[in-house]
Amino acid sequence: MLNWRPSLALDTLAIIGRDTEQKAIQDAVAGLLSKPDGQPLSVAIIWGDGGVGKTRLLRSVIDDTRNSGFATSGIVDLYHADTHSSLGIEQAILRGRVLANPNSLIPSTGIDPQNEYFVEYWDQRNQLERAASEDTEPSQLEKLRKQLTDKFVECFNHWTATTPGLLVFDTVEYVQFGRSLIESICEIRHGAFEVKEWLTETLPRLRDTLVILAGRGPQQTNEQATIHPSDSPRENLWRELLQVFQPHLIQSPFNLSGLTPTETVTYFQAVATAAEAQCQRIRARAEITRSRGGLSEADELDAQANELDEAVQRIADISNDEVTCHQLCTFTEGRPIRLGLVLDLLGFGIAMDEIFHPSNTWLGLETAILERLSSVNIGFPVADTLRYLSVTRQGLDSELLHYLDSTLDEAKCQERLEAMQSFSFVKVRPTTRMVFLHDEMYNLLDELRVAYDLDPGYRELYRKIIAYFAHRLRQAGLLANEREAYQLALVHYHMRLDPGEGYQIFYRLVEEAMIGQRIELELKLIDEVTRFYQHPQYRERAINARVPPDLLERHNAVRLVLHFLRKNDNEQASRVAETVLALGPSVYQQLVADQGQILATIPQAELAQARRVFATDDPYFWSSLLTVYGEAQLYLAQYAQAERVITLAIRLLHAEELAHE
């Protein structure tokens, strides 16, 4: 058995410092319970930076409302790829167990566990999935998708007429990546399959339900730059959501900040109390074990309890030391995740003055904390597993860990992963049992790792991860969703190892998804790469690898034309292509008769950005666009224009071939 011990950064029994938010939500819950059926949707919006305690608050709300007779699916975390489509969200709501509180005593079973109210929905969903696999025409698929949403709303409202509902969405800020620049300037919405449209158009139709939307607020911070630094998509997203949900808001958005010094003291005291209680539980277990003859195991438990006791004492000392508490609060900005990290270290017997110096700020401190943490041994060096966890942002399970470190058998790997879960910054996803780090921790580790090019050790690690997923993909009998998950993982890790190569793999997979009409996969792949570009340092590396974010925007333009072609909507396909041509260099502008008129329709805010994205002489992009535009023109019987643009496309590529020869 590994010498692992429970984290000190336990969830405290009572949530600290969120009284206002809790009260407002409880009032909304009470209001829903007291009013007759058919109440319009209520919405609460919670903003807060990473690690400030949003998720903890959400868990608390879920537990409280469940106790009040509400039904909920738990937290739908929009970070995960399987929620990057509207179908994925519906699935997450109905099947539940998506990031439910692992410490909650009440298991999350999802909405309608007996499948009483959503039978028709699932029937219709099966039909849609069959239609998609049978190559049904895209417009028809969209129609079926809309009908399915109607059915979802109907079943949902039927269900909430008996049990009020609570829907909780976390990391909502990720929805901002839903729409490409070209879709935005041509004012095109795919609607049916996209998450933002689902949130803004479907949610308001739900009744007798409280919806909580949580995420990083509209203020853009440095760590979350955008593809185009001049934009503020997160701000735009929240503005749009606020506009839609204004009539439904229970209050203005709650802006969570860190704990105050006083709350920090309370927090430490509460942790000490919780740890003390845990200590007693361990001692009780030791007694029982001893009475059953398990002497050595009982001794081990006692040792753990003693260790915990000492830690509790240290925490109690800090909580009594206002100056230290104040310092800690300042350094950590009162963010519970950071305080948790400090507590974790205290738990390992590392003294406060070893961790930080009063003149440090959190930014300097976090590296020291990380170093300390890495040196901890809990029967195995934490640094080893932390290293694997830090790169496996798609989650780590025992099988992958075993693949990465073949000296450990799978059972050992499982033990280690379970041991790691004792840390406050490690979390597990109940649906998949995949282990993740907290976002704050990923960001911290990312900064240390990608500030410069990857060192050989990490490159090797990424290669192994890629080899693992490539191997999984080659396995026979994969289910569609498994194949999809592995493909997404491949793109994810390839992009981080080598953005140039990663982009090529992404490009081929997107093309494949388009040919196979796998719209959801296509959107998820785009989303994956879009998110990659959000990270300033990854973006920098991608630019150096000659796959800048603009490449994706240009690729999106060609994809959009192809989508309309596939839907037999040749007019729209031409309109999109002509918009892009009008934004390009003069040789392409000349191909469009009414370029001035086209440009006049583009909002000024986007025009400069669009001009910059399409001011390229990339022959592959222009020849792709001209070829598909020519195709649309052919179907519209505009043969002269079709010939003009297609022959130009061919000339461009021949010139490129010659140049390389």
Binding site: E134, T136, Y507, N568, L634, A637, E643, I646, L653, E656
Partner: protein
């Protein structure tokens, strides 16, 4: 160029050449379309099976149009094999439809209809309007060809009429799909209620094809109605046939207008050809009615019909002249000089010119059979008809070797001469004179002359 760029380059070029293939097809330059599609096929890397099958399918289609059925079958089988393996139903449906067209064109409309029905079935399951529209077109074409088998005594006139009615229903569905809402008439709104309610596909070329097919269908149907009037024991069959000719004319006029609006030379010539055929056939029906009126002593009616005969025939002649005027002179056979060297095979203008001379020849032959002519006039008509038919054969031959049109023209001419008792010697002399006059080769006629004229 790295591997990825090479791959991208190949894919884009392949798609671009495939598109050019469509462009040349739309312009009636089938020879060039074949070249482009072969280029597209050569560009494909083996891994891009889905796109490779596009080029294979399109190549099969063009070979089918050219009457090169062996190659057409070879390519369509490859396309179907790939698409069945890929299990993508939409492209597979398109290949079934292409296979159907090839079968119909190669005189097996029963198999053709079966293939198109498979395509239609998939289009219903996948709600794909374009595939449905094309399948309805293919089915209508197969049913029209099936109906025409009454001429070979393979089915009764009633059965033939039933096939034509089925063809009409299919073409109506295709027309609904390929006609944008803003161009729909009241008539459409009524028929829309009976349709399968597919989305509209704005692809004007397919609308033209449908109108053209409807025009040809009514022309065939009118011929059936006229030639089998005695079976129905009623003069009203002549009236019905006249109505059907009028419908044919109406559809072909719409097709001509659409082609003119879009500046489609080949399609315009094609529809004018078919329009000329409708007027020409109508003029002979009117001539039959005129002859009947004379026999029955109804002079007043005979006089009225004589005017109608003249007007209809003049319009037919005017139209074929117009086609010849509008086709670039470059394609025309010159006295004593034959074709210009640069005239490439596979150009649909050659097909149109072939038809122009075919109709002129056919009308002269029918004049000999139906009009009261002096022996000198008859002789002159027979020689003129023979010359025009020989020119038609030459155009068809240049267009693409051994086409069905060429075979049919030769057979018509030799049967006509045989019926008039002309022998092999007479035919050979005539043909030699024509060969010298235009500096052309008419070798393909020799075996048939030997077979049929003894």
């Amino acid at each position: 160029m790295n591997d990825f760029q090479q791959w991208q380059c190949e894919r884009i070029l392949s798609r671009a050449h495939n598109n050019l293939g469509y462009l040349y097809y739309a312009r009636g330059s089938y020879g060039q379309a074949v070249e482009e599609l072969k280029n597209a096929l050569n560009r494909r890397t083996e891994q891009d099976l889905a796109e490779r099958s596009d080029a294979l399918n399109n190549l099969a289609f063009i070979y089918g149009l050219l009457g090169n059925f062996n190659d057409a079958r070879h390519y369509i089988e490859r396309a179907v094999t790939i698409r069945e393996r890929l299990a993508r139903r939409r492209p597979l449906a398109l290949s079934y439809n292409t296979s159907g067209l090839i079968n119909t064109l190669s005189d097996d409309p029963t198999s053709g209809a079966k293939d198109c029905e498979r395509a239609l079935q998939i289009s219903h399951e996948t709600h794909d309007a374009r595939v449905a529209g094309l399948a309805y077109l293919g089915l209508g074409f197969a049913k029209r060809r099936s109906g025409n088998q009454w001429k070979l005594q393979r089915l009764s006139p009633l059965e033939a009429a039933d096939y034509f009615q089925q063809a009409k229903n299919h073409f109506d569905q295709a027309l609904l799909i390929f006609t944008p809402h803003n161009l729909r008439t009241q008539e459409f709104i009524v028929s829309e209620q009976k349709s399968d309610l597919f989305e509209v596909v704005d692809e004007p070329l397919r609308k033209w094809e449908t109108l053209n097919e409807l025009g040809s269908l009514f022309c065939d149907w009118a011929w059936l109605t006229w030639r089998n009037g005695d079976i129905e024991h009623s003069i009203s069959n002549y009236e019905l046939a006249l109505e059907q000719y009028q419908q044919s004319i109406n559809y072909q006029k719409q097709a001509v207008t659409l082609a003119t609006e879009n500046k489609w030379l080949f399609q315009k010539a094609d529809s004018l050809d078919d329009l000329a055929q409708a007027y020409g056939d109508q003029s002979f029906l009117l001539l039959q009615m005129y002859n009947d009126a004379l026999v029955s002593g109804n002079t007043e009616n005979a006089n009225r019909l004589a005017t109608a005969v003249e007007q209809s025939r003049q319009e037919a002649e005017r139209l074929v002249d117009k086609i010849q005027d509008e086709i670039p002179q470059f394609y025309t056979i010159r006295h004593g000089k034959g074709f210009q060297k640069k005239v490439q095979k596979g150009e649909a203008h050659l097909l149109n010119l072939g038809k122009v001379f075919l109709w002129r020849g056919v009308w002269n032959c029918r004049d000999v059979l139906m009009k009261s002519l002096s022996p000198e006039q008859q002789e002159q008509m027979i020689r003129l008809g023979t010359e025009q038919m020989c020119l038609a054969v030459t155009y068809f031959q240049r267009y693409w070797p051994n086409t069905f049109a060429q075979y049919r023209t030769v057979k018509y001419l030799i049967t006509f001469l045989s019926d008039l008792g002309r022998d092999r010697m007479w035919a050979r002399e005539q043909i030699q004179a024509i060969e010298v006059k235009y500096k052309i080769k008419l070798d393909s006629l020799n075996p048939v002359i030997t077979d049929l004229l003894g």
